[in-house]
């Protein structure tokens, strides 16, 4: 019997390891910047509080940025793992279904028609969010017949609608002036630099609530590993679960993109790597995807800020390059292992 609960023991080790890693990453990110603090200093500065410059830098700049990194990284990664669970396809990520295409189109539309000064700094995130949700709604409606969603056709529809959205965005960019084009591209490349604290807190709260809410679907997600029909045989109401999971992952990816722009690869690679590391049980997979997405993005942000300091690289560039390389390495190692096992 003891043997059987080894699984839970292993899970708590993963969880503890990831939490420690996250704590360490956060400290590193807080300490590095134009002025470097020692890791130990940070605690002291925060405890003293008051008017010191160090405290202001931490409180006004670095902490919000780290929190946004955790929220966006966690959200994108959680969104990816939920979608991969629903589609039983490890190549699906939030952007496959048109969330990024819709968000960029929304932003491009607002910038090109000069609407982005209307309600201040909220306008671009709002445009991105509305754009991504309109596209998701369109994809969802196009793949629904008789009140049932055909998730396989939804994937194709999503890819096509994505193409149409990004082509339309290109069209808008080709007819507008270069200043606007620059604005759009800058937004698309993504950044964790968000001056508005309330947006940061909103997405942080949404991401944490979603993480807890996703655990209500852990049973359907685990059963769906066997396929939709077999999950039904186990008494799971797959239709409802799929709809709600789809909605939740769209929301997560939608708010992330709206606030931080299009940061690629997190939603694809982190779930993949986690599946290889912790196994396919969603009970551990959901939380470890969230945590490692957060770690990965905070770390990528440190690199983006420091590698050509005082200038900053777009974080999407870092996630793409690092994520891609790490992923290829893991793939070649695991296929090597598989070959060795079979041979």
């Amino acid at each position: 019997m003891v043997d059987m609960q080894k699984k839970y023991y292993r899970w708590s080790l993963y969880l503890a390891g990831l939490l420690i890693l996250l704590g360490f990453t956060v400290l590193v990110s807080l300490s590095i910047g134009e002025i470097n603090f020692g890791l130990g200093e940070i605690v002291n500065i925060l405890r003293k509080g008051g008017e010191s410059m160090e405290y202001t830098i931490l409180k006004q700049i670095r902490i919000p940025r780290v929190l946004l990194g955790i929220a966006v990284g966690g959200s994108l990664s959680l969104s990816g793992i939920l979608l991969q669970g629903v589609y039983r396809n490890p190549l699906v990520e939030p952007y496959t279904l048109g969330i990024s295409g819709g968000a960029s189109l929304g932003v491009a539309f607002v910038v090109v028609f000069g609407l982005h000064h209307l309600i201040g700094s909220f306008m671009l995130p709002l445009a991105g969010f509305v754009g991504s949700f309109l596209i998701i709604f369109l994809v969802y409606t196009l793949s629904t017949r008789n009140g049932k969603v055909n998730i396989q056709s939804m994937l194709l529809t999503g890819v096509m609608v994505s193409f149409i959205a990004s082509s339309t965005m290109m069209l808008l960019m080709s007819v507008t002036n270069s200043e606007n084009v620059h604005g759009i591209i800058f937004w698309i490349m993504g950044s964790l630099d968000e001056p508005d604290m309330s947006l940061t807190y909103t997405i942080l709260i949404i991401s944490i609530i979603s993480l807890f809410a996703s655990y209500l679907f852990v049973q359907p997600l685990n059963a769906l590993r066997l396929g939709e029909e077999k999950a039904k045989h186990l008494g799971i109401n797959t239709d409802t679960a799929i709809k709600l999971l789809f909605l939740m992952s769209s929301l997560l990816a939608g708010v992330s993109v709206a606030v931080a722009g299009i940061i690629g690869f997190v939603g694809l690679i982190i779930p993949h790597v986690m599946r290889l590391l912790v196994g396919s049980d969603y009970r551990i997979l959901l939380v470890s995807s969230f945590l490692s997405g957060a770690i990965f993005l905070v770390l990528s942000d440190v690199i983006a800020r420091t590698i050509i300091a005082p200038n900053e690289l777009p974080i999407g560039v870092i996630t793409g390059i690092i994520g891609g390389i790490v992923f290829l390495l893991m793939m070649s190692r695991s296929s090597y292992r598989a070959r060795k096992n079979n041979g």
Partner: protein, 279 residues
């Protein structure tokens, strides 16, 4: 009449291009029943109607004395367990896969398996001989071992009725016999009612106590193997010439096929013989 486990009355269901019609079948509790019939005759459609995957147009399916379609999915999964033809489960360990059979008994929000869940899973893994694979991944097992794990998972659901879709169709004879012997043992020792779709008429005859012969969307005949597997019935339904004889060990009907060449030679020999008689 508490003695029927499955009672299908005047069932009509199907797809736009293929319909089952007027299916009436009664399956006694504790019986080991086989659904046989040619490809495209409607075996799988009937199977899907009983598993609840396919809606029905008219008629009804009673499980015990309850209407199958009025049962909530979870209740249904506690009473009927299904083993599909292919058990594709990828990167799940055998133990985790078998434990999934407890899902119908878990509350929606329960997170950890209970001690009882582990005990039940272990019991049926030992019974099916899959306990020694428990830490391997499902994808690393052979087809026969996957079927055994599938049966272990189904038993872990502790059902009254076990449904199997061609459990032996892609296996060698060792595994075919091993799986059917296991099913027979479960049927006799635990009183589990077993209903399986099966292609192999000889295996159906050897193991089942009742057969339902389906043809063109209707029940052609049902009864004991001796009643159903006559050469007339088989030739009517399968459009193939066969010879039936009893298995020398079990006394159950066994079906022999003959190649066209042999049939032709026999015909020629018969013709010659008649000619000689005429001469």
């Amino acid at each position: 009449m508490g003695s029927t486990i499955l009672n299908i009355q005047h069932l009509c269901c199907g797809y736009p291009k293929f319909q089952l019609s007027g299916i009436t079948v009664e399956m006694p509790k504790g019986s080991f029943t086989g659904i046989i019939g040619p490809n495209g005759s409607g075996k799988t459609t009937l199977f899907r109607a009983i598993t609840g995957t396919l809606g029905i147009k008219s008629g009804q399916i009673l499980l015990g004395d309850k209407n199958l379609h009025s049962l909530a999915p979870r209740q249904r999964a506690q009473r009927i367990a299904i083993v599909s033809q292919f058990i594709e489960s990828g990167d799940i360990s055998v133990e985790d896969y078998v434990l999934m059979g407890r899902i119908p008994y878990h509350s929606k929000f329960s997170f950890f398996e209970s001690e009882e869940d582990f005990e039940i899973a272990q019991k049926y893994m030992e019974m099916t001989g899959t306990w020694k694979f428990k830490d391997r991944l499902m994808s690393e097992l052979s087809g026969g071992e996957q079927q055994l794990a599938g049966i272990a998972r189904a038993l872990t659901q502790q059902p009254e009725l076990l449904l199997l879709d061609e459990p032996t169709s892609h296996l060698d004879i060792t595994h075919q016999v091993r799986i059917l012997n296991l099913l027979q043992q479960l049927n006799q020792e635990m009183g589990l009612s077993v209903l399986m779709v099966i292609h192999d008429l000889n295996l159906a005859s050897e193991y089942c106590d009742r057969l339902i012969l389906i043809n063109q969307g209707t029940v052609h005949m049902q009864g004991t193997p001796e009643e159903v597997l006559t050469f007339q019935n088989i030739e009517d339904v399968y459009q193939t010439v066969v010879v039936t004889q009893n298995n020398p060990l079990s006394g159950k009907p066994a079906i022999f096929l003959a190649s066209r060449k042999v049939l032709k030679e026999i015909q020629e020999r018969l013709a010659k013989g008649e000619q000689r008689k005429e001469d």
